[in-house]
């Protein structure tokens, strides 16, 4: 496959270089730093729509050729790899040992592990498995002089030095290109099941509460709006018995335990379900469909975080926010993804977003001087131009400290300038 020579990052076209080794990537960073050029890190380019457009002229550095397995001591349940490796390739390597890095990624055959880390990708299984911060054991990053700097290590437990890896997860590459990492792994489960539960609109809260106290221990507790449920069914090749909101509950583990949980869930939800429950047992396609729901859809995408107990309320607001909308709420974490085709001729996107953002503040915290609560980020904005206020909202208390960290680690503002929060 020939590598693209140019890439369009939110309307800014940059020339892309493809270093073949970590050393070469380091040399390119060094050269760019000398020349005063900015560096835009590129992985599989599946999520360059996140954050803000580049502000300074510069080059793209693509990590895709860095895709070696450095060390895979399977019986230690860890793996060390280069981060230009695609998520699908890692999955394949790990499947050989019946292991997995259980982080959902919507476009695994293109997305790289570096990109997954930089965007802190996660999906439905986060309820049972956590997120990348729970799996990253060690990380190597190229610094602003082009030198590799590592933190953490290759063992599952280690507190030597600052946990710099955490800083880079979700930093959108603003603190340097990520080139190598060690991950903790999980055994693949013997069996899986997804249960799709139709819900009447007035039963959503009851469903959420029940899932918080029921006897089962799901790895997925999602709420899907009608649009999202339809999309899920389409991707999974299923027909929905009924339109409308659905609860989606996932289990995995020993076969006996999964079966017991399906039965128990059916019993517990008997009075709640608005119709026939669709059970998809060890159905790989259904899991792929669920993961794919996290990919870009509609003209505009939003992602929000609230207290778990507030997620049903916000999910409802997001459902009616725009035509052709879809909403997937991860009820355990209070993380909600939504898409749609909003009409911006009547009200600009910023106004719509700010109204929703206000709702993302938990009711009981809304009137406190320092809102501790929710947030809402515009992941994709269609034709609307993006700026920090629209995409991220107003600055929080800890932003000056983040800016200071950025100044310390990247004083020349080489790495992805302008692409994250103001000042980062």
């Amino acid at each position: 496959m020939s590598e693209p020579q140019k890439i369009d990052i939110q309307g800014h076209v940059v020339t892309v270089k493809h270093p073949a080794t970590q050393e070469e990537l380091g040399q390119m960073v060094h050269a760019a730093a000398q020349a005063g050029q900015a560096i835009y890190s590129v992985g599989g380019a599946t999520r360059q729509y996140l954050g803000l457009p580049p502000v300074n002229p510069g080059i793209g550095l693509c990590t895709r050729k860095l895709d070696r397995v450095i060390d895979y001591p399977a019986r230690d349940m860890t793996v060390t790899v280069e981060l230009g490796m695609t998520v699908a390739k890692l999955r394949e390597v790990l499947a050989g040992e019946n292991q997995d890095l259980p982080i959902d990624c919507p476009d695994p055959s293109r997305a790289t592990l570096g990109g997954l880390l930089a965007t802190n990708g996660s999906g439905s299984r986060r309820h049972g498995y956590g997120t990348l911060r729970d799996y990253l054991l060690g990380l190597t990053v190229i610094d602003d002089h082009g030198r590799p700097t590592k933190s953490g290590g290759r063992v599952v437990k280690n507190v030597a030095g600052y946990d710099m890896g955490k800083l880079h997860i979700g930093a959108l590459g603003t603190l340097g290109p990520l080139v190598q990492a060690t991950f903790k792994l999980k055994p693949r489960p013997e069996a899986t099941a997804l249960s799709l539960v139709p819900l009447a609109p007035d039963q959503l809260e009851a469903f959420a509460n029940q899932m918080n106290q029921g006897q089962t221990r799901p790895i997925v507790i999602d709420l899907l709006s009608a649009g999202a449920a339809r999309e899920f069914a389409r991707l999974a090749g299923q027909t929905l018995p009924r339109e409308g909101w659905h609860g989606l509950v996932g289990f995995d583990g020993a076969e006996m335990a999964v079966r017991w949980q399906l039965q128990t869930l059916r019993d517990e939800l008997r009075s709640l379900a608005a119709g026939e429950v669709l059970e998809l047992v060890s159905h790989a396609g259904a899991w792929e469909a669920l993961t794919a729901l996290g990919g870009p859809r509609g003209t505009t995408g939003l992602r929000a975080g609230v207290l778990p107990g507030e997620s049903v309320g916000l999910a409802r607001s997001l459902e009616t926010w725009a035509p052709a909308s879809g909403v997937v709420a991860h009820l355990g974490a209070g993380i909600i993804n939504a898409w749609g085709d909003p009409d911006t001729s009547r009200e600009p996107l910023l106004g719509q977003v700010e109204r929703l953002r206000h709702q993302a503040q938990p009711k009981r915290l809304q009137d406190q001087a320092q809102p501790k609560g929710g947030w809402l980020v515009v992941t994709r904005s269609g034709p609307t131009a993006r700026d920090a206020r629209m995409v991220f909202g107003s600055a929080r208390q800890d932003h000056p400290l983040m800016a200071e960290i950025k100044r310390q680690l990247d004083p020349g503002c080489l790495f992805n300038p302008g692409r994250y929060l103001t000042d980062l």
């Binding site: 507190v159 017991w260 107990g309």
Partner: protein, 487 residues
């Protein structure tokens, strides 16, 4: 600096601090300060000028600002159970004890979190929510004494972190008094607010980024069922091979702890659990989860143990038996006093498959240096706590303990591991940092510290070999093991 000048400065400091915390909120007499010369790591000591006991965030801010004005170093302290000298006041100054900030401010089961003050003792939180069927997962063996603030600073682990993760996996946010006195909230009860994961960075920063004044922790539902097995082995080798095989088989036990013959004797004398005194080692193996299928999992573990020549595998039949077994494990350190007048606990980590090899090397190190080493540790993580037994009064023994410790930790590195799995670098392992990390790695960490702690007044001489004031390396060298630091 002459003694009188020093005293004058201390007098000004005390006046300042008294205004903030009141006369009953601080101590400064040498007799009272003695307790604060060291923490659970007793090989180095130094006396602070003052210990203050703030009651709220505002008082911490006042103390921190006063220290900045006078150019006096300061450091936070929880219960002082650190085993790495995290609370050693290198260069003297002010210790900010969080012992009076012990309120559980909020418990929100629906939203799966609690908000606590930093001085809350780890077990108090679980005790508070257990009747609702929830708990706070990180369970260091010192959990009856150590504080959540200290756990955050050291990123503590415990027996059950094998399955449930260490402290950082359970911290949602903190309120932090920065080293210049600013107060900021990082993270909070809502997950993943946009921006860098500063919470993840602050956890494990060993008090060098400021004073944690509030903590939002995640609460976890209790498992439906638990099975606790005790495997009895003729040799350490059989026990460690069992551990490697359980992990290699893709089983994720809730806990997997090993006790060797030496420690068994002491523990048995203290708690009378009924451990066989002639066993080479025992393994405490716990699985938890749904009742359905749990006995199958326990049976798989049992058969792996038997295949590896376990003499016997028994189950804790009652909750009381299980509690006694865990008490014997968690309070084992308290029993070590029965073995020798002094001991030094190490905290090395190796990849789990290298455990048998590591334990064999350790046996050899023990023989060569003529230092008895007891082993009790979180085996499933590959995290070992060899306890080196000695008599502090014999300088030759102290020297041999140091040498043996270093050899153990060097071996961990050689096998691809780390010098600390949960106790931290503190002052104790600072010399190992250049072995673990390149100068460029350390520079990146130093730059991050600069962002939080540019003057280096907060916890100087910890974690990074070159950080903070430039006189520190020399100061640290003066504090060699076994000697009291010049005051």
């Amino acid at each position: 600096m002459t003694a009188t000048l020093l005293d004058e400065k201390t007098a000004i400091l005390i006046t300042h601090l008294t205004k903030i915390v009141g006369p009953d909120g601080l101590i400064s007499s040498p007799a009272e300060l003695m307790v604060y010369e060291c923490d659970g790591y007793t090989m180095e000591k130094n006396r602070p000028e003052v210990v203050v006991f703030p009651r709220c965030t505002e008082e911490i801010v006042g103390v921190v600002k006063a220290c900045n004005e006078l150019g006096v170093p300061f450091l936070p302290r929880g219960s002082g159970t650190s085993l790495a000298g995290g609370c050693l006041p290198v260069g003297g100054g002010v210790i900010i004890s969080l012992a009076r900030m012990r309120k559980i401010l909020e418990v929100d089961i629906r939203n799966r979190y609690a908000l606590v003050e930093p001085g809350v003792i780890n077990t108090w939180l679980t005790n508070r929510v257990k009747n609702d069927g929830w708990h706070y997962a990180p369970d260091p063996s010192s959990q009856g004494a150590c504080t959540i603030g200290g756990n955050v600073a050291t990123n503590s682990g415990g027996p059950h972190t094998l399955k449930y993760g260490v402290t950082v996996n359970h911290i949602l946010g903190v309120e932090l008094v920065l080293p210049d006195g600013r107060v900021i909230q990082i993270g909070g009860p809502v997950e993943e607010a946009p921006g860098y994961d500063l919470t993840g960075l602050v956890v494990g920063s060993e008090g060098t980024f400021g004073v944690v004044s509030k903590v939002w922790v995640r609460l976890v539902r209790n498992p439906q069922s638990v099975r606790t097995l005790l495997g009895i082995f003729e040799s350490v080798d059989d026990a460690t091979r069992t551990i490697s095989e359980i992990i290699g088989a893709g089983i994720v036990p809730a806990a997997l702890e090993m006790l060797d013959n030496l420690i068994l004797g002491a523990v048995e004398e203290a708690f009378g659990f009924g451990f066989p005194l002639d066993a080479g080692a025992v393994l405490i193996m716990e699985v938890d989860g749904l009742e359905t299928g749990i006995d199958d999992e326990a049976a798989r573990i049992e058969s792996i143990a038997l295949k590896n020549k376990a003499r016997k595998v028994s189950r804790a039949n009652t909750e009381a038996e299980r509690m006694l077994l865990w008490k014997s494990r968690k309070q084992a350190f308290g029993a070590v006093g029965r073995l020798a007048p002094s001991y030094c606990t190490q905290d090395g980590v190796v990849p789990r498959t290298r455990l048998p090899e590591m334990l064999r090397i350790m046996h050899d190190i023990s023989k060569r240096h003529d230092i008895r080493i007891a082993n009790i540790f979180h085996a499933g993580d590959g995290n070992m706590h060899p306890i080196l037994l000695f008599d502090e009064r014999d300088p030759a023994q102290v020297q041999r303990v140091m040498e043996a410790s270093h050899e153990i930790l060097d071996t961990c590195l050689k096998l691809g591991g780390s010098v600390t799995g949960e106790h931290g670098i503190g002052v104790e392992k600072i010399d190992f940092m250049p072995k673990l990390f390149s100068p460029d790695d350390l520079m990146a960490m130093t730059r991050v510290r600069q962002a939080f702690n540019p003057t280096g007044l907060c916890s100087p001489g910890k974690m990074l070999p070159t950080a903070g004031a430039c006189s520190e390396p020399a100061a640290a060298r003066q504090l060699k093991p076994g000697r009291r630091a010049p005051h």
